[in-house]
Symmetry: C4
Subunit: 193 residues, 4 copies
């Protein structure tokens, strides 16, 4: 089965998820000076954070699918499962932004991120199973150390949100920074072809 | 006529339908603890159900179109007719979720699903008529037993919603499970080529 | 210049326009029985009408672009001009539906449709100018009789909305029916290649 | 790395950005005659202006990416950075429209436009670095004189919004006109191939 439509459909969902988050930036009705924008700062910060996260997922999805040769029914569903959890990011983001990074919204954000990380690893396992352990894709995906560090950070952030939600926020930023540093493994592996 | 744009346009509509349903998960303004999320549970459950349904339709659409070689004007309109009924799923889902799976919203959900099933069979008939009865596509689509079982379940669910809406809910879950089990016919038929 | 991205971008905009109209079907908060849906009937009817119109435009756009070989800057902007007027259909539809097909909303709907018809003819002229008068595309587009009849119907509908808005409604349905009958010219012209 | 998915994802985001702006044209509930539309005139004007801006960006993005042969991780992120600033245009547009082009919203609009211009130049620099200084792309992008004039206009508009916001408005229209005149450099350079 060709991978073209899986990519096209995923791109559509990614594009919508990354864009509907901006709808939470509601136009302030109470004024037309700069002070009217101040209450929007936490909503804006949470938008930036989630934009980066969705961007990272899109980047990694792009890299991984490019290394894939074809797909099967199992991969289609693994992909939909990932898209499901990605689709909850706008909600978690909005709840976090409107409550100024308070405890439970911070924990929920971490929970959604853990589920996204698991869904992504399910998708990559489905792809490896389909392409074979000695495939380019399998070598390219590697051991998934970054993914494990991320999940550890998310879980720590969920627990520490009870102590101080800003520690959680720092951990979410840290994970984004770790992933922002380009994952050169897949690119190198493909270049060697 | 090439099938590329029909697939691209359909992917766009599918992506939007599956994503705008999440907009019903409105951020609770009354609190920032976990209890604030409790009223959202029925909305969330109905979102999961419809996400799976739209996912199933996208999967089947993907499989069926992949087996097709070209399209004609009749197929374009059959496809638009299917997209029309799919576009009503978010409304039916939201009404069901906000009324905690009560009688009439459950019946409407079933009605929308029956219309989707009919629209899908119209599309597959248009494709078979275009490709020929002995085509790969025709063999792959088969007798449509699953589709008939689904419609029987929907109609039963509509009637029984007057007795107990949860029976209807159970039937909708059952149909989703039936379809979730991958329809291996088309994949096999294509592999034999 | 390749036509691929013009088609992809247009498909995205078409998909969003046709889908955001369904957001006007707001979940009734006043009840969970069938009577709660009665006030939505005019909104639903106007949704069906506009869905068919956008579907017709997508179909014709698809046919016309398929006959085109390449595009230039002028065509890109003609296309954006068409997308601009198409993007106003959801607003005109919503105003019409919420005011139960009263005079001025009916007239505005007609005005938006006239502008769409003009924009479409500008786009087809740009394409003919680019491809040449003896091209397949030029023959396929033909004299545009249907388009002229449509504009005459729209203008009549705008004027007669002051007498009885339902005459206008009838004329809008008539135009949709005229276009729904497949425009076989382009398909035939391409088949002769 | 192929450029296909970068284009598809960008097209999706462009399509959503250009279309969600129309959601600000909210159906007037206070009446069904033409006077009910009068308060919407500033919202409509700001929609037209931003539609043209996003159209210009899509056009330029299209031209530039068509001249590119492949992409790398750096280009993917430069592109996401541009999409981020583009995604803030609907907010800036809505605030401007709802406050009838008053001082601070005009200044914010200019600020968002400056950031978009910078993001676009970062993307074009990433592409030039990847393709080489003697590539077609590099020659096609040229010195970026138009971009520099635009930024100068935006900055002037931000400062002069304190004197008279309509001067700023005039400058934004001027920039749109400058870009609307087709940038023939890239098209010519490609035609010479």
């Amino acid at each position: 089965m060709h991978k073209g439509r899986l990519e096209a459909f995923s791109d559509g969902v990614f594009a919508i998820i990354i864009t509907i988050m901006v709808l939470e930036l509601k136009v302030p009705h109470g004024g037309n000076d700069l002070r009217a924008l101040i209450p929007m700062i936490p909503v804006f910060i949470s938008y930036v954070l989630s934009f980066v996260y969705v961007g990272i997922y899109w980047n990694n999805h792009h890299h991984m699918m490019q290394a894939a040769k074809s797909v099967n029914g199992r991969i289609l569903w693994s992909n939909l499962y990932l898209l499901f959890w990605l689709s909850l990011i706008p909600f978690a983001t909005a709840w976090m932004g409107e409550n100024h990074f308070s405890q439970w919204p911070m924990a929920l954000y971490g929970f959604v991120m853990v589920m996204n990380a698991f869904a992504y690893s399910i998708l990559s396992n489905s792809l490896i199973k389909h392409e074979g352990k000695n495939s380019n894709l399998s070598k390219a995906i590697g051991k998934g150390t970054k993914g494990m560090i991320s999940v550890a950070c998310y879980l720590t952030a969920i627990v520490l949100s009870m102590v101080n939600p800003w520690i959680s926020f720092g951990l979410y930023v840290l994970v984004a920074v770790i992933w922002f540093i380009p994952d050169s493994r897949i690119e190198k592996s493909m270049a060697q072809d």
